[in-house]
């Protein structure tokens, strides 16, 4: 959203209650404002990080009760009660988030469903605390003591709070935060590999959504002066989900649009109470089966491009500099070696790797080859940190990586590609590359920079373009991975790894399944990387390729090292020939 649009929104919020005569509409607008906040929280949770929650009503209730109880029974002023309620919501979010770490997909949906259910029942039956279904009365309302102007003041507070949260949401969506969350949603392995501490992120998002939902709950509590447990049923959780889906899941303006539509439907069908459930269910089906992108998707399609250009801020990627410049901008260029000592790993009794020793000299290209099932991928995954070794040590330069989780290894300068390509499908190619730059991005001040400059990531984008240019695919920057050929996708994966400006790169079958021309290109790219001082360990089946570019080769068979030396030695080694069943010339 272009920045001036925010100012327009602020003016609209300020003026709205003054020009609208029917106070009922102000009341409805209040509800839209604070409910949208909860839906924004759900949008980030489900739309960005992919964690399904069927129990958001639980956080809503926690926020509402915390603030209402403190204000009503203990006389706390609202400016103290509400922040405290947010803290309590955050704690609830942390607890649920921790459970969420252990569960995925359907189980997570069930766990959150159970959570919402338990909160509802507790609020219903813990009558001493919450008043049960009779509820709490006399809850102070947010009217600053002025009865007549009260609803207008309330609307302003709710409306501007929403605006603030919406701006925050826009920030998340158009910055590394949103990108990282989408990465975690699509592939946690990938996320770890680029240095993201996945559990912290996942829990953090839960906390964020809990706090936002709790905030909405506090507004709710102080709107009517009364709350009871009847308001926090599963219907509320479903309503929030419906709102986010109708509006457009995963779009920053989905929540407010969805909430508006949902409220309009509710009010419009108020007298049709005999068929209200059918209408609700019908809308769900209609939207999900017909308009999966929600109202935002529809708006986008129908909006004339002039309007779109006037409103939307689209960052551009400036002209790219050559790769050496990109790399030279960053720290010292001394190369670092990688060694693994006595690594063993077994799965359910099968010894995938036995006592493997491997030493990659700094700034060289080292290949790890062997017949299928030899344990090559296992070794790579152990080095990267996705599997834990049963025994042995891994050393990057002088640092021992053995006990470190994968994302920490990434931050120390280890990058890898995946055999089965972990690209983030919901992001265009350039953003995938940007994800590689995670560890180099300065964290502080991000929001303010974004606020003043819609192209706040221009430097990073430029660097990403340089990398794409280096691999000859800069014209693909705006495409989505699903639209690309296999060969191009491999190049993007490589680009992302390069973007990490690693000290050591682990390439898992970088040229498998692509044509000869592309193999040559990748070969040249890897040689170039060596020139930049990067140490490379690669796994491959393409013998031609391996022989051509490797400085050193290690051969594995049945999890054991059977040969180790330069290409000529290995080629002539009888044990190697035997392991490959006498096939001297390997074809792919």
């Amino acid at each position: 959203m272009k920045r001036y649009v925010y100012i327009l929104m602020a003016i609209a919020i300020g003026v709205f209650p003054l020009v609208v005569e029917n106070t009922f509409y102000i009341y409805l607008a209040q509800t839209v404002a604070f409910t949208s906040i909860a839906v924004i929280g759900l949008n980030i949770l489900l739309g960005l990080s992919g964690q399904m929650s069927l129990g958001q009503a639980g956080f809503y209730a926690v926020g509402a009760y915390a603030s209402a109880i403190l204000a009503t029974n203990y006389g706390w002023p609202l400016y103290a009660a509400i922040p405290f309620a947010l803290i309590v919501s955050g704690i609830a979010g942390t607890l649920v988030g921790l459970v969420a770490l252990r569960t995925r997909g359907l189980y997570l949906a069930m766990a959150t469903l159970a959570f919402g259910f338990i909160v509802e029942i507790l609020s219903q039956r813990w009558v001493d605390l919450t008043g049960g279904t009779m509820g709490l009365m006399g809850v102070p309302t947010l009217d600053f003591g002025n009865f007549r102007m009260g609803p207008i003041y309330f609307f302003w507070v709710a409306g501007f709070t929403w605006l603030f949260v919406q701006i925050g949401s826009d920030y998340v969506f158009s910055s590394r935060w949103g990108r990282s969350l989408l990465a975690i949603k699509d592939s946690e392995s990938f996320a770890q590999t680029v240095g993201l501490n996945v559990p912290i992120w996942r829990t953090g998002v839960f906390v964020l959504s809990a706090v936002l939902t709790g905030l909405a709950g506090t507004f709710f509590a102080h709107q009517n002066g009364f709350i009871s447990s009847d308001a926090f049923s599963i219907q509320l959780s479903i309503a929030l989900l419906v709102a986010v889906v109708i509006g457009g899941l995963g779009r920053s303006y989905g929540p407010v649009l969805g909430t508006l539509i949902l409220l309009a439907i509710d009010e419009g069908t108020a007298s049709l109470h005999d068929v209200s459930l059918m209408i609700y269910g019908g809308i769900l089906l209609f939207v999900l089966l017909g308009f999966p992108e929600g109202a935002i998707g529809l708006v986008r399609k129908l909006m004339p491009s002039i309007l779109s250009r006037a409103l939307m801020a689209v960052p551009s990627s400036p002209a790219a500099a050559p790769l050496e410049e990109v790399f030279s901008q960053n720290r010292r260029r001394e190369s670092v070696g990688l060694s693994i000592e006595a690594i063993s790993k077994s799965y359910s009794g099968i010894l995938a790797a036995q006592n493997v020793n491997l030493s990659v000299a700094p700034g060289t290209i080292h290949a790890l080859i062997g017949p299928n099932g030899a344990g090559k991928s296992t070794v790579i995954n152990v080095i990267a940190g996705l599997y834990g070794a049963d025994s042995g040590r891994i050393r990057l330069g002088e640092t021992y990586l053995t006990k470190l989780p994968a994302h920490k290894r990434a931050r120390l300068g280890l990058a890898r590609t995946f055999q089965n390509l972990q690209l983030i499908g919901s992001l265009p190619v350039l953003d995938n590359v940007l994800l590689g730059m995670e560890r180099n991005v300065p964290r502080a001040g991000g929001f303010w920079r974004w606020l003043v400059d819609t192209n706040h990531e221009r430097i990073a984008r430029g660097q990403a373009m340089s990398i794409l240019q280096f691999l000859g695919i800069e014209e693909l920057a705006g495409h989505y991975p699903a639209d690309l050929s296999y060969g191009h996708r491999k190049l993007v994966e490589l680009a992302r790894a390069v973007a990490q400006q690693p000290k050591v790169m682990l390439l898992d079958e970088p040229v498998a399944g692509i044509n000869t021309h592309e193999v040559k290109e990748i070969g040249e790219a890897i040689l170039k990387l060596r020139e930049l001082g990067i140490t490379v360990l690669l796994v491959e089946h393409n013998m031609d390729f391996v022989m051509r570019i490797s400085d050193h080769i290690t051969v594995l068979d049945y999890g054991l090292v059977i040969a180790d030396g330069d290409p000529a030695e290995v080629r002539a080694n009888p044990k190697v020939i035997e392991a490959y069943l006498g096939v001297e010339e390997e074809t792919t």
């Binding site: 997909g105 189980y107 392995s189 609700y280 996705l386």
Partner: protein
Amino acid sequence: MLDTYLQILVSGLAMGAIYTLTAKGLFIAHLATHKLNFGQGDFLMVGAFLSMSLIIAGIPVLLAALLVLIALGLLGWGLERLVIRPLDRFGISGGSTYSWILTTAGVALILQNIAELVWGKSSHYSPPLFSEGRDNVIEIAGINMFVEEILVIGFAAVVVAFFYYMLFRTRWGRAVYTVAFNPEAAMLLGINVRRTVVLVFVLASLLAGISGILVGPLITIHPHIGLMFTIKALAVAAIGGFSNPLGILIGGVLFGVAEAFSNYYDSAFGDLYPLIFVLVFLVFRPSGLFSEAQADVR
């Protein structure tokens, strides 16, 4: 004292049998497609109401049951065809990996509304299936038990046994497992994946229907009993890890019995304890009793 415990045990087993059957429906759908019917409990509700109306109208029990199963089977077919399969064409974007939760929930809401319009919103009782009156009590070893409950347990056991037979001893059952493992490979092996998926959802609905028929006489029914059954069936299926039918059986029985006893000891919060227990259980063993955690390896 003992007779009290036994009576509670039998009640618990009866409800547990119902939960198991409903959960098995969720299990089989999820096994083959990684999706399930969030309105499973509402399908149960429809089965209960239909069964009730037919029996009150004087139709013999077996015929009524058959009609109910046909109706539920059609519902299941309709569900798969209309609100689950169409989602496949949208691919992975936004939250569409979970769209099926909302579409099946949407169908559930519509079913509830239809039930309200047809049968009204208040509670109804369903005539007993196997015995004359609702008070039919039999004395076994000096303890009084409802005939209805015992027969529900017996009948449910038969259905479970039949289910096992289908799953593990027939070709179709093996086809389901193959599709579960790898749909593309299954297709290459000559299995009609589409038909298997449809059949799986039909079977899930039939199980919901049978549960509805059996549960009617045990409880009072109204259009909104579905959600609780869905939640409990999900909990039971979770204990079974969604992958092991034996786990589901054990889970269902345990859940029903635990629920009955915890109601006895703490009537105010009794129904919460089994659910909280399942929640905690999920934290420690996220993939259920018997299955292995799947490594997140790509």
